[in-house]
Every structure is written in structure tokens, then in C-alpha cells.
């Protein structure tokens, strides 16, 4: 792992400058709502995953989209991950600058600026990209040739999630052959995240769906290999399926991410990882039949993932029923037996943390309830925020 790039240390300095007055103080003294990550729980999650790696056939590629933290990403690399996985090219830029030598953008890029950014980033690290379309592969090839780099390619296979990904072994072979023949591209194998299994809360049903998805995934690889397209990499899995998929002798790498920072949604499926990321919030209004908090859907995103409840709720008051979630307010039913009052600062379960992480500027890192550091969230938002100019200027 390389050292942190100045863009990461500058961002770290910036958020420490903004929020560093909280360091050394109790998390309950923070200006709320504040995003909190418990470093001991984070380390325990990473250590648990690392302890399970020897028994798994596949290697660990830590996904970063759920935490967007260069600091957490480095800890993933220190705890057994050989590389990282990103949802966007801008996340990939940040994570390479955080020190990763290997990054997979487990997504289609398509946009010409994003293709160019990935091709330029390949000057700094081994960059791999998903494709499911021959024309996209051709354009990636042109971008890599123009940049004088090589992009690793995984053909994305739809293993049942019904998002992107080729629909059949024949289509996979067609795209794989095209990739093989294109300059600037290296046909690395297949990517097949079984995300539909992470929307199945029932343990047995999830396992059945996972097994079916990976059986199909491997059969697609067999078809390519039998037809002269080797697939040295088969990448799949999320936190809810990692130990099953990782035990499949054909799967070579796992692309889970939530295991590190965790949330209530994933905790329902995989309680061996503990919730490291929470929020601290303030009761701003106390009515006789309800309490109102100073965070809402702009902060924790949604109370559901798809149609599944993610359960944003108050620590120690988990029984309180949500009344309504507005943009800047969460309102819970609470009669006089609930002792919450205006000004109380309490811990909050965020439900599904990737949404919250998407909105905050920084994590307040705590140990034993005391703030010990401030970590930046990078990249922030859907725009490139200057990362495009950064990769462009790197080789100039």
C-alpha cells in the first residue's frame, strides 16, 4: 500500500479544521446531527473478516461505496483486502490516492469523461471496469489507447439482480471475445454481484438464491472458457452472502463492503458484524404524544431499501414507533412514559448508512464515546468535485 496522497491529507486537515474542536470531548457534546464511527467496532469487524479469510477460497476486495472513507479503505487493506471495489470512477480515484494498488469499478462507465478518467487513473494503479456492452468496450479501448494504459475488464453477468449485466452465456461470450480482441483492454473475467440475495431477509431463502446465482455464474464462466475466453477472475458477493460465495471454489474474489462500517439493514442478515456507524441527534421538540429529532430523510436517506424496512430509530428507545419522516425531522410516537425531553442528545440507528454517508461531510471517530479524530467523506456527491482535473494533471 502506498502512502496517502496530499489530496487525502488535505481533506483530512480541512475537516479536522472544521470539526476538530470536538476532539477529546464526549460524542454527546457534538453539534447534531453528527455521523459517528466507533473505531473499536470497526476494527473488530475488519479483524473478524480477516480471521475468516484463510478458510475461504476467494480473496477479499473491499467495497467502499457504503463508507466513502479513504481511512476506512486503508484499514480494509491492512486487514486482508488485496484491493478495493468502487461504484463510481470518482470513488476509484479517491481510493487509489488513498493508497490502493488495485481497484475495481464494479459498474458501467459509458460516459466519455468517466471512461477517460478511468483510463488516466490506470497510470497510477491496476484499474478494472465492468462492461456488458460491446460498444462500451470499444469506447473504453479507445480511451485506454489514448491514455497509453491498459484497463482490466470484467464482463458483468446478471446473476438475478436484474440491473446491468449480460443476460445469457452466449451474450457474455460475445462481449468477452470483443474485449479479448480490443487493444488497451485485458479480459480478466466476470463480475456477478448477487445483490438480489441482499434483499431477501429470510436466511434459508437467501442461501438458496445465492447458490442458484453462483451456479449460474460459474456456468457462464465455463461457457467462456470452453470457447477460448479464459476467466481468471470471478468476482461476486456482498456482506449478506460473503461466507457462502467465498466458499465456492470457483469464485476468486469477494466484493463486499458493508461488513466494515455496518448498519441495521445488514445487521439483520449478518449479525456477526456489529454496527460501527451511527449518528448523534438532538430532541428538538417534545409534544405530549411524540418526540421530534433534528435529522430527517435528507440525512438518513430512506427508511427503506427497496421495499424492505431499514429501521432508523433511537438507541435505548427502539420501541418508539415512527410517526413520520420529513426532510429535516424524524417524528416518533412517545407518550408520557418516555423520558426524552427537548435538548436531549441521543444515539441514533441510521438504518441504511450508505444514504447518510452520501450526505455528511465527515465522520466523528470515537473510542469509548470520546471523539478521537475527524475523517473526511470522499468523494462527496454525484459530481467529480475536481477529481477529473486531478487525474488529468497527474501524468502531465
Amino acid at each position: 500500500m502506498r502512502d496517502l496522497d496530499p489530496i487525502i491529507t488535505a481533506a483530512h486537515d480541512r475537516v479536522r479544521g472544521y470539526y476538530g474542536s470536538a476532539i477529546g470531548r464526549s460524542k454527546y457534546e457534538l453539534v447534531t446531527p453528527a455521523l459517528v464511527i466507533d473505531r473499536d467496532i470497526l476494527r473488530a469487524n475488519l479483524a473478524y473478516m480477516q480471521s475468516r479469510l484463510p478458510e475461504l477460497h476467494a480473496r477479499l476486495r473491499g467495497h467502499v461505496k457504503n463508507h466513502k472513507s479513504p481511512h476506512v479503505a486503508r484499514m480494509q487493506l491492512e486487514h486482508g483486502a488485496f484491493g478495493l471495489c468502487a461504484a463510481t470512477v470518482w470513488e476509484a480515484v479517491v481510493m487509489v490516492r488513498a493508497g490502493a494498488d488495485e481497484v475495481l469499478i464494479a459498474n458501467q462507465l459509458v460516459n466519455p469523461v468517466k471512461r477517460r478518467a478511468a483510463a488516466l487513473l490506470a497510470r497510477e494503479a491496476n484499474v478494472t471496469v465492468n462492461v456488458d456492452d460491446v460498444r462500451d468496450a470499444e469506447a473504453l479501448s479507445a480511451a485506454a489507447v489514448a491514455a497509453g494504459t491498459t484497463l482490466g475488464i470484467l464482463v458483468e453477468v446478471d446473476t438475478g439482480m436484474h440491473r446491468a449485466g449480460v443476460d445469457s452465456p452466449e451474450e457474455a461470450l460475445k462481449v468477452g471475445r470483443a474485449v479479448q480482441a480490443l487493444p488497451g483492454l485485458r479480459m480478466d473475467g466476470l463480475s456477478g454481484y448477487e445483490g438480489h440475495c441482499s434483499m431477501e431477509m429470510d436466511h434459508e431463502k437467501r442461501h438458496e438464491k445465492q447458490a442458484a446465482a453462483m451456479e449460474y455464474f460459474v456456468s457462464v464462466a465455463d461457457h467462456l472458457e470452453a470457447n477460448g475466453v479464459p476467466c481468471p477472475i470471478l468476482s461476486a458477493a456482498g456482506t449478506a452472502t460473503a461466507f457462502w460465495t467465498g466458499s465456492n471454489p470457483r469464485i476468486t474474489e469477494l466484493q463486499l463492503g458493508s461488513y466494515a462500517a455496518m448498519d441495521d439493514y445488514h445487521f439483520l442478515m449478518e449479525p456477526r458484524f456489529k454496527k460501527a456507524t451511527t449518528a448523534v441527534v438532538t430532541v428538538i421538540s417534545r409534544r405530549m404524544d411524540r418526540v421530534v429529532l433534528d435529522l430527517g430523510k435528507k440525512t438518513f436517506g430512506s427508511a427503506e431499501v427497496g421495499s424492505i424496512a431499514a429501521h432508523p430509530r433511537i438507541f435505548g428507545h427502539e420501541v418508539l414507533k415512527p410517526y413520520r419522516f420529513d426532510e429535516e425531522h424524524a417524528t416518533y410516537e412517545a407518550d408520557a412514559s418516555c423520558d426524552l425531553k427537548v435538548g436531549d442528545v441521543v444515539d441514533f440507528h441510521l438504518g441504511y448508512t450508505p444514504f447518510a454517508v452520501n450526505y455528511f461531510d465527515a465522520y466523528h471517530v470515537v473510542e469509548d464515546g470520546t471523539v478521537v479524530d475527524i475523517w473526511p467523506i470522499m468523494p462527496r456527491g454525484p459530481l467529480h468535485g475536481g477529481l477529473l482535473q486531478l487525474v488529468e494533471s497527474a501524468g502531465a
Partner: protein, 387 residues
């Protein structure tokens, strides 16, 4: 209106520089996903509201939590708004530095840093906040005294939305008395957003609900006046009820915000206002039965959206993808640009750092979204440094 301060002009320069390659380019050349603002539609919306308010007894206070844009807020003031409404103290700081002197945090401000920020801001602007509890009054008063400033205070009335707010004169009167006797505070009146009405799409029912809510709000105002505490301000309304509420006797100002940028939810309430803000996305995967775009719930927000110009059923929104059903008869292909009409635009806006501003289909400017995110304590540090 004052000139914008460096906080705002520097942010504008910064995003113009970051996204300068888009300036002068047509919409389809913008890197996706991008937040688009159509200037002509925005202006038409602002003019429509100005026309509608010309003969209304109430004045217009424009809510900014919807757009978080100093530029749009200034245009709202140019189109007749007396000032702005904000959801957070951080928004109020940005809007005051955008040059708008009348800023009202239409929310309970709780916590020592937030009340201190509000009190410090009151040194440079006409600052108002709302309360529904004696503890908040004590905190605001102590902060204002410490800062040597005066904060205007309105009592938040729950007229049926069931969020914050007192419900009766019996609750409001002692609170009003306490405010009027608290150093550093001025009792200004009542605020009562009838947000529950904006969840009712039947127009007749919605306006009846709004009138009922206003009867309660103005009734409490009359009771306070009779007890010697007249309400200088009685503030209410959103985009779904502005027409009725702005003409209800006793209401002095309305506080709508969505009318400027609009979205699917508010177009369902008042379709006279046009869709000024959309999200530009690319089709990144074309399957036999669906298309996948690069704007998901981390971009568009929890309330999702539909595609402009394409009547396609939503299949699913994931974090970084939205998926719409599209058979072979739909001529969309990988790389095509689509615009997502958000059902609720404030979520999308809160994720972006800037708007790509379009006129006649070309990018003419980049405007910052400010403040970004829920934690903006650095704005307090800025006030404390006196910079």
C-alpha cells in the same frame, strides 16, 4: 439587498472553475449525473408567484431549504420576497451572506452551538427563529444576551401536521409572555406550516384543510392580541396552499419554497409552476427488457422519479442506478442522455455541490449548492472570527 459576501462569491468561483468545461456546451455534453436548472422556467415560476401575490394581503417569504442556492434566493427577493425562510441555522448564515437581511429559521433551534450561531448572525442580519417550548426560549435568550444581539421569536403552532408546535392558546400564551419578558428576544408572532395539506392531492379538500388550519392559527393570534401580546407576524403556507393561505384574513406572510424549482409532488399540487430542476443521467446499460441509468437513490433521493419524455415504468432504484422497464420498442440505447423528473427535488439537490444552469439548452453558469450536508459547524467558526 446587499451584495453577496466572499463566502458565496468564492463558492461560485470555485464551482465555475471545477465545471468550466461544461460552460457554453449543450445539455447532452454535460457529464452525468448532473443537476440541471432551466433558467427560463425558474424565472417564469418566480414571475407567476409575484403575479399571484400582487393583490394578496400577505407578503411572500421564500423558503430556501428546497434549493439551497444563494443565487435562486436572490432572484426570489428580486421577485418580491421580503426575505427567506430556512430549515437550519446554517442555511440562514449562507442566505444572510448572500445579501438577504431578513432570515427566519422556521424550525426549533436547539443546542448551544446552533443558538450561538443564530445569536452571532443576529448582529449582521434581521434574524428570526421559532420555538414551541420554554427551554428553547431560555437558550435563545442566553445566547442573544451573550452576543449582544436581538433575535425575533415566533411560536410554532401545530395546525394538523403533527410535527413540532403548540396546539392551543393555553400553551401559546405563557410561551408568548415568557418570550416578551426574555432579554435579547422580541416576540413577533406565530408560524404554522400546514404541511399536512400538502399531502392531500384533492384541491377542494386541501384548501378546506388549509382554511381550517388558518382558523386555528389566526384564532390563537387573536387570543394573544386580546391578552396584550399582538402578533406582528402570522406566517404559514407551502406551495400546495399558498393561494388560499395568502388571502386568509390575519395571515401576514406565506413561506412557500418549492414553487421556484418544483418537482413531481408539488406539480401534483400546483401544475401552474414548471419543472425547473431535473437530474441529467446517462443510459449505462441496455437490456432486452429494461434500461439502467447512472443516477440512483444516492443522486435522486429516496423519493425517486420518472423519465422526462419517456413513459417508462420504474423497475427499481438502487444507490447508483435507476432501472426502468423498456422493451425493444423503446429506442433508448447505451450512452443516451435522459432527464429524471424527481418526485421530490430537495433530496437530489442536497446531494449535489452545484447546479448546471441552462438557457436555451446550453450551460450558461454553474451555481453552488450551499450549505452542503447537515454539519456545518465551520460556519459558526466563521461568525466567531468575525470574518
Amino acid at each position: 439587498m446587499n451584495d453577496p459576501a466572499p463566502l458565496v462569491t468564492d463558492a461560485h468561483e470555485r464551482v465555475r472553475d471545477l465545471y468550466r468545461s461544461a460552460l457554453g456546451r449543450p445539455r447532452d455534453e454535460v457529464t452525468t449525473p448532473a443537476l440541471l436548472l432551466d433558467l427560463a422556467t425558474l424565472r417564469a415560476n418566480l414571475e407567476l408567484m409575484a403575479d399571484g401575490m400582487r393583490d394578496a394581503p400577505a407578503t411572500l417569504r421564500a423558503h430556501v431549504k428546497v434549493h439551497k442556492s444563494p443565487h435562486i434566493a436572490r432572484m426570489q427577493v428580486e421577485h418580491g420576497a421580503i426575505g427567506v425562510g430556512c430549515a437550519t441555522v446554517w442555511e440562514a448564515i449562507v442566505m444572510a451572506r448572500a445579501g438577504i437581511s431578513d432570515v427566519f429559521v422556521i424550525n426549533e433551534v436547539v443546542g448551544p452551538e446552533k443558538t450561538r450561531a443564530l445569536a452571532l448572525l443576529a448582529r449582521e442580519a434581521d434574524v428570526k427563529a421559532s420555538v414551541d417550548d420554554a427551554a428553547q426560549v431560555d437558550e435563545l435568550s442566553a445566547a442573544a444576551v451573550a452576543a449582544g444581539s436581538t433575535i425575533g421569536v415566533l411560536i410554532d403552532v401545530d395546525e394538523g401536521m403533527h410535527r413540532c408546535g403548540v396546539t392551543t392558546t393555553a400553551e401559546a400564551l405563557p410561551l408568548a409572555q415568557k418570550i416578551s419578558q426574555s432579554p435579547g428576544l422580541t416576540f413577533l408572532g406565530l408560524t404554522g406550516y400546514e404541511g399536512h395539506c400538502s399531502l392531500e392531492f384533492d384541491e377542494a379538500k386541501r384548501h378546506a384543510m388549509a382554511r381550517e388550519a388558518m382558523a386555528q392559527l389566526t384564532g390563537i393570534a387573536a387570543d394573544l392580541a386580546a391578552a396584550g401580546l399582538p402578533c406582528q407576524i402570522v406566517s404559514a403556507a407551502g406551495t400546495g396552499t399558498w393561494g388560499t393561505t395568502s388571502r386568509y384574513p390575519g395571515v401576514t406572510e406565506i413561506q412557500p419554497g418549492s414553487y421556484a424549482t418544483m418537482d413531481g409532488h408539488h406539480r401534483g399540487l400546483d401544475p401552474r409552476f414548471g419543472w425547473a430542476v431535473t437530474v441529467l443521467a446517462s443510459v449505462i446499460s441496455r437490456r432486452s427488457d429494461r434500461i439502467v441509468t447512472d443516477a440512483g437513490s444516492k443522486t435522486v433521493g429516496a423519493s425517486h422519479g420518472v423519465l422526462k419524455g419517456w413513459d417508462l415504468e420504474k423497475y427499481r432504484f438502487d444507490e447508483e442506478h435507476s432501472i426502468f422497464l423498456a422493451d425493444a420498442s423503446v429506442p433508448l440505447t447505451t450512452g443516451d442522455k435522459v432527464e429524471i423528473l424527481c418526485n421530490y427535488t430537495p433530496f437530489a439537490i442536497s446531494y449535489f455541490e452545484a447546479y448546471h444552469v441552462l438557457e436555451d439548452g446550453k450551460v450558461v453558469d454553474i451555481w453552488p449548492v450551499m450549505p452542503r450536508g447537515p454539519e456545518s459547524r465551520w460556519l459558526l467558526d466563521m461568525l466567531e472570527r468575525g470574518t
